[in-house]
């Protein structure tokens, strides 16, 4: 237990440079997605057996609250996926000179895709 607390102390003692931030955010989004996937599995199992359950659950999941949660989910998915692609290129193609620039481009791309992806969701949330 003490070691785990120590671990976090060490992590947060680092000056948060861009590379460290990228690593940390990838981990956090990854864990968040694992948690989300567990929820997704259980809920899907719940409504897989009958049409009534399905329609009922989809009704609830189409309410504005869940639409906004989906926007947050979209952000986490986009960031983790695009950052992951960056890591793959970093691992298999030699161009670590440009990593910081590519990370910034990835963040910008995430925001752009998030913006366009959120429009249908917001439209459904409102009307």
């Amino acid at each position: 237990m003490l070691k785990i607390i120590n671990f976090f102390k060490i992590i947060f003692s680092y000056k948060l440079k861009l590379g460290a931030l990228a690593w940390l955010l990838n981990r956090i989004t990854g864990l968040g997605l694992v948690f989300y996937f567990f929820l997704h599995l259980f809920i899907t199992r719940n409504f897989s057996s009958s049409k009534e359950q399905f329609d009922q659950t989809i009704q609830i999941l189409s309410s504005p609250l869940f639409k906004f949660l989906e926007i947050g989910l979209l952000f986490i998915i986009l960031f983790h996926g695009l950052n992951g692609l960056r890591i793959i290129t970093m691992d298999f193609i030699k161009h670590s000179k440009y990593q910081k620039l590519i990370f910034l481009l990835i963040v910008i791309l995430t925001m752009i895709l998030l913006f366009f992806g959120s429009i249908p969701l917001v439209r459904e949330a409102i009307g």
Binding site: I4, L41, S48, G84, L85, I87
Partner: protein, 114 residues
């Protein structure tokens, strides 16, 4: 020991890349479906009666479970806890993975046209 970790490292990248493709398609279908086609239980059940879509779903499930739980394994490894506890947690992840896989298989099996 190194070889196993190396393979897991490599598979994390491979599954990650494949998930981008599968998940991109999945999200596109869900959004597109909600916009144009209504989410319909019977339509999904009909699709899942085809072996191709059943296998597609199982592959998708395996990719995600592997990538997610391997990621959790990486986080546990970085915690640098005592070796025995680490091994126990690894086994726990493996067991959870198998349970969730069977859980997912049952879910795919449950869809019957009504």
């Amino acid at each position: 020991m190194n070889r196993k970790s190396g393979i897991l490292w490599f598979l994390q990248r491979v599954t990650g890349f494949l998930i981008v493709i599968f998940l991109g398609f999945h999200i596109w279908i869900m959004h597109y479906a909600k916009g144009q086609i209504e989410l319909d239980f019977n339509r999904i059940s009909a699709r899942l009666s085809y072996p191709f879509w059943k296998i597609y779903s199982i592959i998708f499930l395996t990719l995600i479970l592997f990538h997610g739980l391997n990621g959790v394994r990486g986080v546990i490894f970085d915690l640098r806890i005592r070796k025995q506890y680490q091994t126990i947690l690894y086994l726990l992840i493996l067991v959870i993975g198998i349970i969730l896989f069977i859980f997912g298989l049952k879910t795919i099996h449950l869809w019957k046209i009504q």
